[in-house]
Amino acid sequence: MPHYDILVRGDPDVRIKLADLAAETGLSWTPVDSGERLTGELVDRAALHGVLDRLFVLGLDLLAVERRSSRHAR
């Protein structure tokens, strides 16, 4: 299953939204220097696009999406 790192712009309001999103998608969320990072496995393209749609609706700025194969995931 592919593993994704999704980076969004940090903001005082972002963390509450990300905590909810992480809980609902099963991803984990950690603050990093360049913003906030959602990370975890997503089963297919539909799941990835679902998360990206949610970020859009929440008004979060998407900075980067990186796909890694499972064996490279931490």
């Binding site: 005082p12 309001d13 809980a23 609902e24 998608t25 099963g26 089963v43 297919d44 393209r45 539909a46 799941a47 696009h49 679902g50 998360v51 749609d53 949610r54 859009f56 609706v57």
Partner: protein, 849 residues
């Protein structure tokens, strides 16, 4: 629509059907790319279960949550007849769509087990409808199974359902046809005479993508080079697109090919519509033939009256049409627009006419039907239409410009309304300005009011009103008269709101009389006027009057339905202020907090900001100063993006200064104080800061004038001075001062101001001035009752004057019918009444509502 029954020759996918029938499934999500067989699978499954099924095929028009909800309720009629009407009756006005879902679900809970299918949910991704869906899923009754088909994961808490074992997911990998299913699939095409290795190879090359298999089957018909074809066939959608056109479309007879292309402009098809669009009297026969030949035509209803093309196929047809026959594309849309207009579907007609580029016809329909849409709360739809007209069309005539500014404003796009007028002014000739300059000023006055610049609004409004007799609407050309009538009809509400912001009660009442004297353009205008009246009364400390006016607004909003929801925000803000002053803090949050964001999104920036300020005051009173500060900082940032008028900036400064003092951040409070204009509010803040800094001796002289005044500022001045006296060791002087206002405070129940300074003013009044600096106690509106009503009982009580049924009250408060009945029983007992009407009367006597 009633789901169409599957055709007999589909491949029954037993392994997937079994998965869908898992007994614990409450939410079923089927995701996969276009052409992966989602719809066919679910349709086959619901037919096999035999359970009543509501089927809603979504398209982008359902991005408007009101339209989505109407369509959903219509679909739900299949499983619960009469539901649609019952749900909209006695609509609560604010956030109607959200509440209607709750009521619908509540009603469905009494229906037999049933299935609700939302097909093509991805078409409403990233729209306000998604928030509504999330609500739907939260309250879904156990007997109802929700099935979602989408190309992307829906915006629902899937993980929660997954952990609870209530989710069934079928994904792209599940939907792929394996070799056995591919073999079953090709059995439907016996004329192809494929061998086993051909089937295996095609399944492999298409990766089990059923649309690819179907394209291959259609292409293979009549060929004798099967081996070569199979080797050459690339099953991905990118390659299949070209393949489809070369191998499938070009091999159709000309009349079928032309029919497919011409009708591809339709997102749903029926024979009469196709006849009108193509001019072919044999449209019904052609539709039957296309369905029979597996040319990607899907029935939408059980009677097979309505169809749609498979999305991918339709998309390819439209692309081909646009590239080869753009004239036919426009003509098709135009004729579809004519047909829908003639068949009572102006919304679809406007969509097609806009696609055809026939802006005149679309505009003509829009002007006739925009009121209906606004009354129905379909602001999202109206915004969508307005934004599809090219700027040059709008700019062509002054009458259009005025209509568009009005419509954009009504639909919540103030920036667009302002932009149109700015452009119009920049391009206007002296003659144009002479003809319509006055109306531009009306627009500018209305926009100023909405964005929170009341001084500009009042100045402009007064100026244009004095010149109103210069305008003879009856003598104007019809197009100009239309815009003029709408704009001037909206002006009294905009002006009343502006005067309310300036605490000018006389101004509010004057414009309210104007509004009531004329026929309001929309029912929501009356709701808005009541909100302005309630606000100005609340600011003057006349809390009882304010509460009555706000209640009237809420009831009126209830009666007038969804379109009135925007206007209710003023009444809600006023009511929150009343509750805060009465120290009913939870109720203040309940009545206002959930509604602020929606009001702001829909263009009521000024009132939404006042609502945010009110919420910050409530949070401060609840001892959550940090939260209040965070809220104010967020509002500052959001408003700055649009440009914050001085009035709102001042209001935000004042509130933040007050909260900072309470939080002990005196340095920042001092900075903010420096930004605030001289006046009563600044004096009160200076006194607060002095008290907090241990300079209580400054308070008495600072507030001497305000203590001699009236209204809430006098009360606040008295409370602060009383505190200064008490802290200086003279409680008797404090008591004497407080006794001067205790009766007035008691009359309106405005106790919060005194509680903030540590005085239980209600107790002081009861004790005849002997209480002194009493411990803080909870005052309430329950005086006169042997046993006071609880907060929840008071919440129920507030709905009794409305026409809501007990069940509907339960839906409003998110409790069951039985809980409401239980509360009512207790309320009647405590009020010593037997009936709802008597309870309302008694509660009003006691000032509880």
């Amino acid at each position: 629509m009633t789901p169409a029954r599957p055709t007999l020759d589909i491949v029954r996918r037993t392994r997937l059907m079994d998965a869908l029938s898992a007994p614990a499934a409450r939410l079923i999500v089927v995701t996969g790319p276009a052409g992966s067989g989602k719809t066919v699978l679910v349709r086959d499954w619901v037919a096999a279960t035999g359970e009543p099924t509501a089927w809603l095929a979504l398209d982008p028009s359902h991005s408007d949550p009101e339209h989505f909800l109407e369509a959903l309720l219509t679909a739900l009629e299949e499983v619960a007849p009469g539901l649609h009407e019952a749900t909209w009756r006695n609509d609560p006005g604010d956030h109607a769509a959200d509440q209607a879902v709750v009521r619908a679900i509540d009603h469905l809970g009494t229906a037999p087990p049933s299935v609700v299918v939302l097909d093509d949910l991805h078409t409403v991704d990233r729209s306000p409808t998604t928030a509504l869906l999330a609500r739907l899923v939260e309250v879904i009754p156990e007997k109802l199974t929700l099935v979602v088909c989408s190309r992307t994961d829906p915006p629902l808490p899937l993980h929660r359902f997954r952990l609870a074992g209530e989710l069934v997911e079928l994904r792209e990998s599940d939907l792929r046809f394996d070799a056995d299913e591919a073999a079953l699939f090709f059995e439907r095409f016996p004329q192809l005479a494929l061998e086993e290795h051909h089937v295996e190879r095609l399944a492999e090359r298409t990766e089990g993508w059923v649309a690819g298999l179907q394209f291959a089957a259609l292409s293979l018909a009549g060929r004798d080079d099967t081996d070569a074809f199979v080797e050459r066939f690339a099953g991905s959608d990118r390659h299949v697109a070209d393949f489809l056109l070369d191998e499938v479309l070009d091999r159709q007879p000309d009349h079928v090919r032309d029919f497919l292309l011409a009708t591809s402009v339709l997102d749903r098809l029926c024979a009469p519509l196709c006849e009108h669009v193509t001019g072919r009297p044999d449209a019904a026969d052609l539709l039957r033939r296309i369905e029979h030949d597996h040319l990607f035509l899907l029935p939408l209803d059980r009677d097979r009256d309505w169809f749609r093309y498979h999305h991918l196929f339709g998309q390819l047809l439209r692309r081909e049409l646009r590239m080869t026959r753009p004239d036919l594309e426009r003509a098709g849309h135009r004729r579809a627009g004519e047909w829908f207009a003639a068949h009572g579907q102006p919304g679809r007609a406007i969509d097609h006419l806009l696609e055809a580029g026939d802006h005149d016809a679309a505009y003509s329909l829009l002007t006739r039907h925009v009121h209906d849409r606004l009354v129905a709360g379909r602001h999202e739809t109206v915004r969508g239409w307005l934004n599809r007209f090219p700027p040059e069309f709008v700019a062509e005539r002054p009458g259009r410009q005025l209509f568009f500014t009005w419509a954009f404003g009504r639909a919540g796009e103030l920036a667009q309304a302002r932009r149109i007028v700015q452009r119009a002014r920049a391009a206007a000739t002296p003659q144009t300005l002479d003809e319509v300059g006055l109306h531009y000023e009306v627009v500018e006055a209305c926009v100023a009011s909405a964005i929170g610049d009341p001084d500009t609004a009042v100045t402009l409004g007064r100026s244009v009103w004095e010149r109103r007799h210069d305008v003879d609407v009856a003598a104007l050309p019809p197009e100009l008269a239309l815009g003029v009538r709408e704009l001037w009809g909206y002006l009294p509400l905009a002006m009343a709101r502006a005067h309310a912001m300036l605490d000018d009660r006389a101004g509010v009442r004057r414009w309210a009389r104007v509004m009531r004297g004329d026929r309001p353009r929309l029912p929501s205008d009356l709701v808005g006027i009541l909100g302005a009246e309630a606000w100005v009364e609340a600011r003057r400390g006349r809390l009882r009057t304010a509460a009555e006016l706000a209640d009237q607004a809420l009831v009126l909003g209830t009666e007038h339905g969804r379109g009135a929801r925007r206007a209710l925000i003023g009444a809600r803000t006023a009511l929150a202020l009343v509750h805060r002053e009465r120290n009913e803090l939870d109720r203040a949050v309940e009545v206002l907090a959930p509604h602020i964001d929606a009001a702001c999104r829909e263009g009521l920036v000024a009132i939404a900001t006042l609502g945010e300020v009110e919420m910050a005051r409530v949070e401060c009173a609840q001892g959550r100063a940090d939260q209040a500060i965070a809220r104010l900082l967020r509002v500052r940032r959001d408003r700055a993006a649009l440009g914050t008028p001085a009035f709102l900036a001042e209001m935000l400064d004042q509130t933040e200064c007050r909260v900072r003092i309470q939080a002990g951040d005196l340095e920042r409070a001092g900075d903010l104080l420096g930004e605030i204009d001289p006046g009563p509010e600044r004096l009160l803040l200076e006194a607060r800061l002095a008290l907090a800094a241990g300079r209580g001796a400054e308070v008495g002289p600072l507030l001497a004038d305000l203590r001699g005044g009236d209204g809430p500022r006098r009360l606040e001045a008295v409370a602060l001075t009383g505190r200064a006296l008490a802290e200086a060791g003279d409680p008797a002087a404090a008591r004497r001062l407080l006794c001067e206002v205790a009766e007035a405070v008691e009359r309106e129940g405005a106790v919060r101001t005194f509680l903030d300074e540590g005085f239980d003013i209600a107790e002081l009044a009861r004790a005849g001035g002997a209480a002194g600096r009493a411990p803080v106690a909870r005052p309430d509106g329950n005086r006169g009752l042997v046993e006071p009503l609880s907060d929840r009982e008071l919440s129920v009580l507030r709905y009794l004057p409305s026409r809501l049924s007990n069940r509907e009250i339960g839906a409003e408060l998110y409790v069951s019918l039985n809980t409401v009945k239980s509360h009512l029983k207790t309320i009647y007992r405590k009020l010593d009444v037997d009936r709802r009407d008597d309870a309302v009367r008694r509660a009003r006597q006691l000032g509880l509502i």
